[in-house]
């Protein structure tokens, strides 16, 4: 039976993080809704601006960490201390969905103004491919160890 020291260590770490993750998600969702409130009020009846938040599940977080590794995408079981879920940038995420898509640019502009120091990390169809959505991540006041991610996606 193969040892899974790294994965089990990460699972243990994950179950210590929910209070911070929840705080980040709640703060971020409130900030985003507040920031986009003037835009929301101005929408026509057929237009949509939906804000959704989510917490990354444990196994999904471990998978994401492994996927970000270099060659072979495989944990080195002899170096379990080298891995931490705190390196993930999207444990706590808020997604803004917009219809029609021409509202994406304005929402992005408003949010970039609110989070000017966050790191852009656009979602692409494939490496260096066309951009599917704007996204950025960074720390907010709710936690010093968990970063939040905002995505702005056309419906």
């Amino acid at each position: 039976m193969a040892q899974r020291v790294v994965e089990d260590g990460l699972r243990a770490e994950y179950f210590e993080l929910p209070p911070d993750i929840r705080r980040v998600v709640e703060e971020l969702e409130a900030e985003v809704r507040h920031c986009l409130l003037p835009m929301t009020r101005g929408l026509a009846r057929y237009e949509q601006l939906v804000v959704k938040s989510r917490v990354k599940e444990c196994e999904s977080a471990i998978y994401a960490l492994r996927r970000d590794l270099h060659e072979g995408r495989t944990f080195d079981q002899d170096r379990s201390e080298a891995y931490t879920l705190k390196n993930l940038t999207d444990l706590a995420g808020v997604r803004v969905l917009l219809f029609p898509r021409n509202h994406v640019a304005r929402a992005n502009q408003e949010l970039r103004r609110r989070f000017p120091l966050w790191t852009p990390d656009p979602i692409r169809e494939y490496h260096e491919g066309p951009m599917l959505a704007e996204a950025y991540y960074g720390y907010c006041d709710a936690s010093e160890i968990i970063r939040g991610e905002i995505q702005i996606v056309p419906m």
């Binding site: 060659e71 072979g72 995408r73 495989t74 944990f75 079981q77 002899d78 494939y126 490496h127 491919g129």
Partner: protein, 80 residues
């Protein structure tokens, strides 16, 4: 999506398939695996030369940075 043109073709014609989970080109019969980074950073000739190398029946991993024994062992178990 992988976009390496001829390298991709060379590997697939030689019986390698791409494993998305590990980002490796794998030939289970020959027990050889190329990382996508290695494929990206090396020429068609360099890749072909390694494909043609005689192997001793054990898994060979062509990476830019030599994987640790622990990683090799894990990959061998996963790849079968």
């Amino acid at each position: 999506m992988r976009r390496f043109g001829t390298k991709d073709q060379i590997l697939e014609e030689a019986g390698y398939s791409y494993n998305f989970e590990r980002a490796l080109y794998i030939n289970r019969r020959l027990k050889k695996a190329f990382s996508i980074e290695f494929v990206e950073d090396n020429t068609d000739e360099e890749i072909t030369a390694r494909m043609n190398r005689k192997s001793d029946g054990r898994w060979e991993f062509y990476f830019n940075s030599e994987p640790s024994e622990s990683v090799k062992g894990a990959l061998e178990r996963i790849l079968g």
